[in-house]
Structures are given as C-alpha cells and as structure tokens.
C-alpha cells in the first residue's frame, strides 16, 4: 500500500466522517455545557434535519445548498418547540428525567420521519459521483464542501460566542447559571437561543451525512455514540474541543481497519469514550466534569 492509498482510502474518509461527527458533537457539547444534560434525541433531530432538506429539494426543486439553510431553520424551530413543550416542564426536576424524556423525543422524531417520508432509503441526487484527483489526492467535491462547511459553521458559532452579547450570555450561563441570572442574563432566552443553534447544527450534521451517504430513518441514531464520544473526548462545553474530538474519532475509526478486524470498527468510539473517562475525564481541552 502506498502512502497516497493510505491518505485516500483511510485518512480522507476519516476526516469527512470526523467533520460530520464534529458538527453533531458541537451541538451535544452546547447542550451539555449550558443546559447540563445528555441530549439523546440529538441523532434523530439530525435525521429530521436531513429529511427536511430532502423535502425542500423535492418540493421546491431547489439545489441542496439552498435546502441546507432552510432545513437548518426548520430544525432550529423544531428544537425550540421540543424545549418549550417537553424539556421546559422538567427544568426544576432532576436532570436524569430530562435525559430520559429526550430518549422518548428521539423515538417520536424517528416515528415522525418514518410516517412522513416512509422507510425507504433516499438520496438528495440520484446516481454516483466519482472523486476528482488533485495531484493524486482523490476527493469528491461534496467531501471538500463538507469539510469546509463544517469549519465555516463552527467558525461563525465561535465568533458569535466570543464577541456578541448573546454569545457571552451563553458562556456565562454555561459557567454558572445562578450567577448569570443575578447579573441580568435572561436564562429563558439563552435556553431558547441555545436550542435554535443546536437544532441548526443537528440539521447540518444530518444533511452532510445524507449528502455523503444516504438518508435513512436510523441514520442519526447510529451516529449518536460517536458524537457523544467526540464531545466528551474534546472536553464538555468546549466547542473547539468537540471539533478536535470529532475529527480524531472519525480518523481513528477509519484507520482502525488497518489493525483490527473491520466488524469491531463500530465499537471503537465506545472504547475511546471509556478510555477518556478513565484517564482524563475533563477531555483533551479541560471541559466540565459531569
């Protein structure tokens, strides 16, 4: 095997997969950090976003790149709705109730997707796309876009969190919600804003997963474990950590086939999750310990 083969067939797919994990992990880390619970409906919200984009593509006949922002808005609205109608009631109760509720939400969202879009496997565009060769580097356009879009979306989020008033409020609530409340931060509005951002990130993750593979009702659910592993590996509450964690998990999963039998690839994210919780529970970038 040449070096280029290693890059083309193991590293590049790993980076693309990692970018998708990263988009999901950033959302998970935000919920973890600001609202302090493990959001198990994250994968299925991503599935919903992906299918929402499909609906825009088929109903309006627009390009997938127009459908993406529309789907992000739709998923953001759904996420706000989920909080308003389900999670908000459990705010004062032990967090484990909200976690369990989110599992129920996951099943509901999946059922909605199956009722509306059916159970058949779908794609945004029919047919196959062969990769282009850039000096021996074989990349498909959409893989390049996935990678670039991930950095663009996370970059915008980063700037928002660092420099705007509402971004700072979100960080303050993540540090200490009571203190933030005392300083005049409106917790309800911050919660709503967080869910809007989380829903948008979910839709983006689902969209890029669907773009690179296919749309299936179970697509998001199966991504949940690697996304959680990525968020915890990077450090809970750390956006840049989630990106690094996602990329590491993606690349390690793909590279692992070189040394372990391929049927164990799926277990690798879980192994990394256990290892990081044992060795360095704060994650790579010193996040919260939950």
């Amino acid at each position: 095997m040449t070096f280029m083969d290693l890059i083309n067939f193991y590293f590049v797919p790993g980076v693309v997969l990692g970018s998708i994990y990263a988009l999901g992990a950033v959302g998970i880390t935000l919920v973890f950090g600001i609202l302090r619970f493990a959001h198990l409906a994250h994968g299925d919200l991503a599935t919903f976003g992906a299918f929402a984009a499909l609906a825009f593509v088929t109903a309006l006949g627009v390009s997938v790149w127009v459908a993406l922002p529309l789907a992000m808005v739709a998923a953001g609205a759904v996420a706000i709705g989920l909080d308003r109608y389900f999670y908000d009631y459990l705010r004062e109760r032990p967090k484990i109730l909200t976690v369990m509720a989110s599992l129920g939400i996951a099943l509901m969202l999946r059922a909605i997707v199956q009722v509306f879009w059916g159970v058949d496997t779908e794609t945004y565009t029919r047919g196959i796309v062969r990769p282009e060769s850039y000096w021996g580097l074989r990349i498909r356009d959409r893989e390049l876009y996935t990678f670039v879009a991930m950095f663009a979306i996370v970059g915008v989020l980063w700037v928002f969190l660092q420099n705007t008033k509402w971004g700072k409020a979100m960080r303050a609530m993540s540090d200490n919600p009571d203190l933030a409340l005392l300083s005049g931060v409106d917790n309800r509005k911050v919660t709503m804003l967080t869910w809007a951002i989380v829903g948008m990130l979910c839709a983006a993750a689902g969209f890029f997963l669907g773009l690179n593979t296919e749309l299936k009702a179970l697509m998001g659910w199966t991504m949940l474990l690697p996304m959680f592993a990525a968020a915890i590996l990077g450090g809970v509450g750390r956006v840049e950590g989630a990106v690094i964690g996602g990329l590491i998990i993606g690349v390690v999963e793909e590279m692992s086939v070189l040394v372990i039998p391929s049927e164990y690839k799926a277990a690798l994210a879980f192994a990394i999750l256990l290892l990081i919780l044992l060795v360095r529970p704060t994650g790579l970038l010193k996040g919260k310990v939950l």
Partner: protein, 400 residues
C-alpha cells in the same frame, strides 16, 4: 355512588363478554415482520401477501367451521430484541395459535429460542434464510417456506466459478443472515478451486466503509461479493465501492436484490452488478398467486412475496387440519405439504376444507414451489441470477 359502582361493574362485565365473544369468532395468527429497521422497504409487500392468504380463507367460508382468521401484525424490526418483544406479546397477550414470521434470520433464531419453542407455538418463517435455523433444537416446531442460504451460498459460488470468476473478495454484514450466507459461499467457492482474496464482516449503520473496502481490495480481487441488505448498509458499500473504483464487478445475495439499489445508484452505474435470489419455478400455482396478488394491488415480483403468501396459506391449512389444536399444528404442517395426497393450489381454500373434513390427505403446491419439508423443516430451493436492465432486475438464468 353505589349506582356508579354498579354501572362500572356492568360496563366491565359487558366488556368481558364482548372480548369473550370476539375470541370465539376469531382465530388469531401472529404475523411478525421487519416493519421498521433495515428491511422496512421489503416488509410491506411480504405482509400484504400473507394477508392475501388470510383474506382468501375468510372470503371462502372461514376457518374451523366458519370462524374468521385474523392476522395480528407485530414489528420484529429485523433484530433479535424487537423480535422477541413483539413475539412475546403476540404469544402471551394476543394468544396467537401460530406465528408467520419473523422475517430476518437473527429474529427467527431469537424468537424460536426464547419465545415460540418454550411456548410450543409453531413458527413458519417466509424469509429467515440463515443455515443456523436448520440446526435449531426446536421440537420440530420451526419451519420455513424459504430455502436455507446454505443452498444459495453454494449455488452462487458454483455459478460464479462457471462464469469464469475465480478470485473474489467477500464483504458480509455481521449478523446471522450475512454470516451464514458468507460461510457457505466461501466453503463451496474454495472447495471448487476459487480463491477468496478478502473476507471481512462489517457492522451496519456506519457512514463510511471505504477503509473496509480498501482492505478487501488489497487481496487483488476485482470482484466483490456483498452479503447485506440493499436498503441498508449494502447500498452504502456498493456506492462507495463504485465511486472509488475499488472493484470492477459486484455480486450480491438476495438481500441486495432491492429496487433501492437501482433507484439510488442509477441503472447506468450497475452494468457489472448481478444478484442471486430465490425464484418460484413457473407453475400453475405461481400464476394463480400472481393473478390474485395483482388483483389486490400487490407486486408479484417483489422479493419474498411468494414465500410469504405460502407461509400464510400453509399456516391456515395446518390450523384447519389440526382442528385448532395449537400443539398439533407443526405435525399438521408436514401432513398438508408432504408430496402425497390431493393437490391444493393457492386460493383453493374451500376445496381443501372439504377434503380435510372428509379425511382425505392433501398436498399444498405453493407459489414458491412444492414446499415438501425435510426433517429439519427446510425446503429445497431454486435460484436465479439477476442483472440490472432498464431500471429493474432481469433474470439471466437459473443457477444450480
């Protein structure tokens, strides 16, 4: 207050009476299928075909002296856990007399081991094809109307060698279906002089299988054999193999013969793809089924519809033969389809009931074949190889 109590008690009594009434009027059969999960796209026609059999029974005077047969549908989601959950509900709560299904091998094995065999309920699967099912310790209560993959794997191996393919790589789904098929394929292929240059299992639901494919292609084979589902992971694998040019030729088992493959990848990209699948040999039975299924709006060419119909019809015949005795159904299944007696074709329910009442032996000739069960409850099968032609699968000849 007292009046309310009285009213409540009366309502309860009324409800109980109603339930008792309906239990008398209906014979319940469990219909377990992979409604959700990886074969969700294949399941609806299969369930419809089985329902057609029950419909015919009810239209032609009903079962066990005029009762109607009712199918209670359960979702096995094509996995052992959900299969056991819904089978438990069907057997213990709905009190079904027999089970048609589940659809997937893993679910069949789990349901047989922990639900149907302990409860003494007969299980007849129309699509559980794993060779593992043959060797189940089942007191002879697990049977199938679909041939074991042991036959298919071996037939496919011989067919490939005949077509001049002597070196392949095999990618199979890590479950009872994929493993069983892959093992018998590999065994036969190597025994007849072929070389398996790559042999690896994979888990379902991952976004990328390119590293798996790169590993497989390192053995130098230009043909990839995929034992997976064309609605699920198999589609992702086939797509990524095509896009990256890891292999030139692709071969699939029956799970890969799914319209989803053509719909999503495009027929123009699938010129080097062939898939094997069980086929009903041309017969009057098959024609009768095709007409009946087309009349109710079904597609008689969908996968496993013939075996599903046969499973439903056979189950009804066995219930009639056994006189509604749950414990006698397995024996009755063999008696109504053992190659001896007055032939019964699909839909000939009234005739069958008459013969059973007279005590004459009957022999069901199914749409999918004669269905003479062997000592393990298996049936022999016929297979054909299919290629993609004009947006659909077209047979290119039987394989043996």
């Amino acid at each position: 207050m007292k009046l309310t109590h009285l009213a409540f008690a009366a309502t309860l009594a009324g409800a109980t009476a109603l339930t008792a009434q309906s239990a008398l009027a209906d014979v319940k059969v469990g219909l377990l299928g992979g409604v959700s999960g990886p074969i969700a796209a294949m399941a609806p026609p299969m369930l419809d075909a089985a329902q057609l059999a029950f419909q015919q029974v009810n239209d032609q005077g009903g079962i066990l002296g005029g009762q109607s047969i009712e199918a209670v549908v359960g979702d096995s989601a094509c996995n052992p856990q959900n299969g056991v959950d819904s089978a438990t509900k069907l057997v213990n709560v709905e009190q079904v007399i027999g089970l048609v299904g589940p659809h997937c091998s893993g679910a069949v094995l789990a349901v047989a081991n922990s639900v149907s065999v302990p409860a003494g309920v007969t299980l007849l699967t129309p699509s559980g094809t794993s060779p593992e099912i043959t060797g189940l310790q089942d007191n002879d209560t697990v049977m199938r109307t679909v041939p074991s993959d042991d036959y298919q794997g071996r037939a496919l191996a011989r067919a490939l060698l005949e077509r001049g393919t002597s070196k392949v790589a095999v990618a199979y789904l890590n479950n009872d279906y994929g493993t069983g098929l892959a093992e018998s394929f590999k065994d036969e292929f190597e025994a007849n002089g072929g070389a398996v240059a790559g042999y690896a299992a994979h888990e379902e639901g991952k976004a990328s299988y390119r590293s798996n494919l790169a590993e497989l292609s390192r053995g130098g084979a230009d043909t990839l054999v995929i034992f997976d589902y064309g609605d699920g992971t198999g589609l992702t694998i086939l797509r990524q193999a095509l896009e990256n040019g890891f292999f030139e030729n692709f071969v699939g088992g029956d799970g890969m013969k799914s319209e989803a493959v053509i719909n999503e990848l495009g027929a123009e990209n699938l010129t080097t793809f062939v898939a094997s699948s069980p086929v009903g040999t041309a017969s009057t039975s098959l024609d009768l089924f095709r007409d009946a299924f087309t009349n109710v709006g079904g597609d008689p060419d969908a996968i496993f519809v013939t075996t599903s119909y046969d499973a439903g019809f056979l189950m009804a015949l066995a219930i009639e033969k056994a006189g509604g005795d749950k414990a006698g159904i397995a024996t009755a299944l063999r008696e109504v389809s053992n190659g001896e007696g007055e032939p019964i074709l699909p839909g000939e329910w009234e005739k069958a009931v008459g013969l059973i009442a007279e005590g004459t032996a009957i022999d069901y000739k199914g749409a999918s074949g004669d269905l003479d069960f062997d000592e393990n409850g298996d049936v022999p099968g016929a297979y054909a190889l299919f290629e993609v032609s004009e947006d659909t699968f077209k047979s290119i000849g039987e394989i043996k």
